[in-house]
């Protein structure tokens, strides 16, 4: 990507973000007005789906049939999940999982 394309990509993401933040204030004036039922339904079910998609997005570069076969990713994911099930501390789980991965790719694989 060129610098201009990077700038455009950032601008486009900023615009989309601002759309989601300002839109309710532009179209609704009071709490009594509610968006259509289908929009509220998506509001309930979309977050889980989006974060599922983002996990796949993060792991899109994993090559199960070559290189390290995705073993460090799988181990670090398991560590993250186990840590989270155990302590339920978001920051601890993120830091622990990342540290686990860093150690695996730098020292083992």
């Amino acid at each position: 990507m060129t610098a201009v394309q990077m700038g455009l990509t950032i601008a486009v993401c900023t615009a989309a973000t601002m759309l989601t933040r300002f839109l309710p204030f532009l179209i609704f004036s009071s709490k009594e007005q509610q968006p259509p039922e289908v929009v509220r339904y998506l509001g309930r079910v979309l977050p889980a789906a989006i974060f599922g998609m983002l996990i796949v997005y993060c792991l899109k570069g994993v090559t199960p049939f070559s290189g390290s076969h995705g073993i460090p990713e799988a181990l670090a994911l398991l560590a993250t999940i186990a840590l989270h099930k155990w302590k339920h501390q978001t920051l601890l789980s993120v830091a622990g999982g990342t540290l686990c991965y860093v150690l695996l790719v730098q020292l083992v694989f």
Partner: protein, 247 residues
């Protein structure tokens, strides 16, 4: 300008300052969280080879943790503005509902309203939607400073992380897993909150299929489309599973 027309005794600080003083303690938990995650974010973006000021720029204009992580990695790929726009819309869609909840609270403060809407984050929302300013403290300034402090913590920590990344005496290889770990934990938290898990499974399955079919360079658009279509098509059974529809 109400504060000019009033006689201000030296013992009583400017209303603006008083609001700042009242707002700060409310934001301390956010400071802790943003500091750790912001540092990680800064180091991560720097490790991708992007300019050292990039995390601060994205933290200022986009200011949404999840999207900023994804955006940094999008900047390394092929130029695809439509995909980036839709991705951003879907990641940030929850802000629509924060806005709906804040319609009345955030109204009537002029440019401060504008800034508070511009810089609404999950964490800021969670404070300003419930925090009550102490007596004698202006509510507009109070919420404004909570918003401003939170964003400063994020941008500052991101900058610090990026700067640290350039001088760390050890390799940052593998730090990019911070994004995977973060989304995994958010996914787990969401899983525990949800009555039904259909949408979570759709969110994993559709992109996996699209990744296999379209390859890693162009699977995002079909994934987003597929997720939306499936969620809409399965609305009845999903609402039933969540206990939202009576038999």
């Amino acid at each position: 300008m109400q504060h000019l027309s009033r006689t201000v005794s030296p013992a009583l600080p400017h209303p603006c300052l008083r609001a700042l003083r009242a707002a700060f303690p409310q934001t301390i938990p956010v400071l802790a969280g943003y500091f750790v995650l912001g540092l990680g974010y800064g180091i991560y973006v720097q490790s991708l080879g992007l300019p050292v000021w990039m995390p601060m720029l994205m933290g200022t204009v986009v200011y949404g943790g999840s999207l900023e992580f994804v955006l940094a990695s999008l900047l390394l790929g092929a130029f695809s503005p439509l995909s980036a726009f839709l991705m951003a819309l879907m990641i940030q869609a929850r802000h629509l509902f924060y806005g709906l909840a804040m319609l009345e609270r955030y109204k009537g403060y002029g440019w401060r309203s504008f800034y508070m809407i511009f810089a609404m984050s999950d964490e800021t929302f969670s404070i300003t939607c419930s925090a009550v300013p102490p007596e004698g403290v202006d509510k507009g300034w109070f919420m404004f400073f909570i918003t401003l402090l939170d964003q400063l913590y994020w941008v500052g920590s991101a900058g610090l992380g990026a700067a640290l990344g350039t001088v760390l005496p050890f390799s940052t290889e593998g730090v990019d897993f911070v994004m995977t770990a973060m989304f995994t934990v958010i996914f787990l938290n969401q899983w525990e909150k949800d009555q039904q898990h259909g949408s979570a499974l759709i969110g994993l399955a559709v992109p996996l299929v699209c990744l296999a079919v379209f390859g890693s360079g162009s699977f995002l658009l079909p994934s987003m489309g597929g997720i939306l279509v499936l969620l809409l098509a399965l609305r009845r059974p999903m609402e039933k599973a969540a206990g939202e529809v009576e038999e």
